[in-house]
Amino acid sequence: MASEQQLSAIKGAKVLMVGAGGIGCELLKTLALSGFRDIHIIDMDTIEVSNLNRQFLFRQSHVGQSKAKVARDAVLRFRPHISITPYHANVKDSDFNVEFFKQFNVVLNGLDNLDARRHVNRLCLAGNVPLIESGTTGFLGQVTVHIKGKTECYECQPKPAPKSYPVCTITSTPSKFIHCIVWAKDLLFAKLFGDRNQANDLNVRSSDAANSSEQAEDVFEHRNNEDIEQYGRRIYDHVFGYNIEVALSNEETWKNRNKPKPIYSRDVLPAELNQQNGNAENKLVTDDPSSVSAMASLGLKNPQDIWSVTENSRIFLEALKLFYEKREKEIGNLTFDKDDQLAVEFVTAAANIRAASFGIPLHSLFEAKGIAGNIVHAVATTNAIIAGLIVIEAIKVLQNGTNNYRMTYCLEHPSKKMLLMPVEPFEPNKSCYVCSETPLLLEVNTHHSKLRDFVEKIVKAKLGMSFPLIMHGSSLLYEVGDDLDESMVANYAANLEKVLSELPSPVTNGTILTVEDLQQEFSCNINVKHREEFDEEKEPDGMVLSGWTQPPEKAKDIDVSIDNGNGVSTLKASQAVSVEAEEIDNIEVMSTETAAKKRKISDMSESSEISNRKVEDVDDDGDEIVMLDDDSADCIKKRRVH
């Protein structure tokens, strides 16, 4: 029971919740029951069926509606006289500036991606508003408290970089199922159904093949009047047969690796397939694009089944056919969406056939969907526990005087008899570039790297700034904004294409750049150091940012330390996210420097960590997704020089 003092602090508090999903629903309910009377809640999402197993404020009839609004309505039903203000919006919107944040006594995050968390962290620091962070995945969860000057900020401990894979692993030498998924989703699916103008590594091989890229283009193009069945088999044979044969021709690659087997449709599926597909009973009555399904068409009902190569091949061809027959208009514009049944079927089938070729175990559609869609596994109970812990900390925060804040970890397996483990928060990291204004160091070849590279790969991706402003002394090199006049916009556009040393205010060895994001009210200095050479494999960006060090080990009883929502670099909001799969019992927060740096990953609106939870054997790394970035082609070219 809350004490008198606590109750009065609660009654007068104005609280902001960011996120009305799994944690959000539980949190809003508990806040309301605990006596909070003025709650604001931001969430940009709408309700989906898969939310209903845990986001209990929502009903089937609410699917498609705003989470923030429905959550509010549901809670008002048992606490009609409190004030809940919903915002169906993205917390990164400029409306939610520092002034907005300053009106709250405490901010409670129930987010699922790193990008938004960093953003909120910076605004809370700028506004000096206490922030309580949290995250859950399956049975694991944690709550952390961040108070400027007193504790670490959310970014004091660099979050682990997501796992990424060298392009060659994806295109030529996959060894895990996840590699096949990435290939199927980001290469094949993208090539066949996505933007034709996008560069695509599909035919890139580890050796310089004789095939010219023009020939490759022809292969994937659906020719006029070409029978879809024919087209499907042609694609099938090309990617699973021909491409493999070509790869095999390079002996070097396979010296120490198992050789893949080419697979041709004629061997797997004799012509009788046509008859099966012609079975009218299996065809769907409706032309509703969202219900089109190869599984339904072929009578494969159970998404948990692991299909044979033959079945996968049937699905592959049937899915391709259905895209052309029922969803032709979308072809050329499609991006993979985990809720697009046909896309999931296609990617599953393609990944499985490739896996079969390379001797990698096949997976069910259910599993493949989870990997390809970066699905976070989630249950109501963990969210409820975490919500309770958040409110306990929030009440402490409101009572300014008490400095007994805690971080609490919710464990799946007890550690020292504890399922709920409290830990003292750490002091701010003195070399945190976010809250301690420590300058960073950038090693770069100032004659080769352009300002554009710096902006995209460092400022946006690594530093998490969305609308940056870059200054060299008093000279503005670049900025983003709505109210810039044309000449300035042109000036900045020109600057982007210049190499650093040739900018109007040249950036060379010893230069100090100031980078700011006005909305986040976050500013940071970067010392530039010129370096000639960069390792193509380890430093593919040709730039290395460093300078913030891991805080010294202060933890007393920590055996495990978890963090959820470890999205990664903040490149593109629309692309898939990377996930660090970690063992349940021994999870460590890794610094971005120690994490393997290979290729880049991009961020999506969801990110997750999927742990080893199934009793069945689960490929640890199988839960990581990688987006190949656009520059991968360039990197390949560089490597070919050897």
Binding site: N53, V376, A380, A384, I392
Partner: protein
Amino acid sequence: MDGEELTEQETALYDRQIRVWGADAQRRLSKSHVLVSGLKGTVAEFCKNIVLAGVGSLTLIDDRPVTEDALTANFLIPPDENLYSGKTLADICCDSLKEFNPMVRVSVEKGDFSNFDGDFFEKFDVVVVSCCSLTAKKTINEKCRKLSKRVAFYTVDCRDSCGELFVDLKNYTYSKKKLDETIECQIQYPSFEEAIAVPWKSLPRRMSKLYFAMRVIERFEEAEGHTPGQTSIEDLPKILKLRKEVCEAQSVNESLIPDSLLERLVAGTSEFPPVCAIIGGILGQEVIKAISGKGDPLKNFFLFDAVDGKGVIEDISNPNNGS
């Protein structure tokens, strides 16, 4: 156990949790029957969790009328007297719980269930009791244990900002995968009566004090014939006296149970909603584990105190009993 596949509706709804515990476990959940009594805040939380998880059925027992007091930590009760007057706690919670998952059968059972016979309890796979006397706990526990079928038995009680869970799975065997092999595990649980009979002296010194404090209050309420809600700060002097007696009988120092702790537990007549969520969540997880046969169940007490923030598992069983 299997046979029927999950329906398409179930697969879509339960997708995220199937990814946690698998389709088999989900199937088992959908065939399980849970009995719950004592619908205060924590149990309301538990019910929400178990309904969302997709059990086959949930039966509620609580004939107490809805009062304004009940509203404080129970979000299943609409605060409209017109709606709740004349109804029992079970009735009103039943209506709300049904909404969370139309695939779960939620119903009400009336009467003093500590008088029901074994046949009644045999219908269930899980029995959760709360807000009842020590005698009732023991009685129901025994009835469950007597059945040849394994009926998982739990008690849950939250006072002030503390919570205690007790688990009795009788003889529990389950398999789990360690590295590449599947190993069979077996755990023997003592009954509630056996557990609380374990001499305090034999328990580890660093144990959660909350356990002892709860036992004293439990004893007090039993002796006075109080229902859990009836004890208040006025009873503190008597309780402190009882503490002295009990500690002497157990040959332990009275300082084992701090005054302040007892005072908190006795003064806090309403539950603290964050603790309800936490305990209701832990209990939910345990019940799901027991039904699905997946995951290490806790043995056999779980104790939480918001003041130190530790959620601790204490194994209170007598090694001599083979438990």
